[in-house]
């Protein structure tokens, strides 16, 4: 009698597609990962008045007041002019003021009842206009 030998099948996990899976996962995480990067408008505050050595007295003509009321309306006040302007015109107005007088200090005065976003928008516009000396205050 003839015995037929049974062939043993090789068992194994197919590994040829492993790299495909790995790359798929890599691409998935690459495209979905979101890093929380902090971005914002920087400013340096003056020291508290008790700590300040000397109080700097500014000439009135070197101060431009930008006033924001609780409705978000803006008033730009210099020594001899006073005008109400919309937010999108603020940058151009401040740019001309700063160009004419590089020592100009912009005092951003926001109403306590005003929304924070108006102040941030105005500060953004002031920095975009190239104003370097900005002071924040409230009434």
């Amino acid at each position: 009698m003839k015995f037929s030998r049974k062939r043993k099948e090789l068992s194994g996990i197919p590994t040829s597609s492993m790299s495909d899976v790995a790359f798929l996962l890599l691409v998935f995480f690459l495209s979905t990962t979101k890093f929380d990067i902090k971005k914002g408008l920087g400013i340096v505050l003056p020291p508290a008045s008790s700590q300040a050595d000397v109080r700097v007295k500014l000439n009135d003509k070197n101060i431009t007041k930008v006033l924001i009321n609780k409705e978000g309306e803006i008033l730009v006040k210099t020594i001899d002019t006073e005008e109400r302007i919309p937010m999108d015109k603020l940058k151009a107005r401040i740019r001309t003021i700063v160009r004419n007088n590089p020592d100009m200090v912009i005092s951003l005065k926001t109403d306590r009842q005003s929304q924070y976003k108006f102040m941030v928008q105005a500060l953004d516009q002031l920095q975009a206009a190239g104003a370097e000396k900005i002071s924040l205050s409230t009434n």
Partner: protein, 135 residues
């Protein structure tokens, strides 16, 4: 003459077939066990601005202020008069501290003004108002 029999050297090799198993095991272990420390903060909607710049994360300390004026530092609710003490402690740990405000866009400015005065008292003079890029 004596005949020298060449000794067969056994081949030395590190089995690399299971290397990927080990790598995946390690990957899985770290994926499962890693916990990211993250401040929860308060739920806020940030205002938008154009000229924003990056704030170095290592130097920053975040103050959350939500639309109803609740202040949170290190995930603790804080009253306005406490801000100065807390921030001066932080300044002592990191001399180059930048205080970042994550304030809701509809918060009343009065709260912010009070906090800014507290920061001035604590001598934390570098401040940044966080905003999202306006498109």
């Amino acid at each position: 003459m004596a005949r020298f029999v060449k000794k067969n050297k056994p081949e030395a090799a590190i089995p690399t077939a299971s290397m990927s198993d080990v790598a995946f095991l390690l990957l899985l272990f770290f994926m499962v066990s890693t916990v990211f420390v993250k401040e929860r903060g308060l739920k806020i909607v940030m205002p938008r601005a154009e000229n924003i710049e990056k704030i170095p994360r290592k130097q920053s300390a975040t103050i959350y202020v939500n639309s109803s004026g609740v202040i949170s530092i290190n995930d603790f609710p804080v009253e306005i008069p406490q801000v100065s003490g807390l921030m001066s402690n932080k300044l002592a740990q990191n001399f180059n501290l930048i205080t970042c405000f994550r304030t809701d866009k509809n918060t009343r400015y009065g709260v912010m003004s009070d906090i800014l005065n507290q920061l001035r008292e604590a001598n934390c003079l570098r401040v940044s108002f966080e905003a999202k890029l306006k498109r």
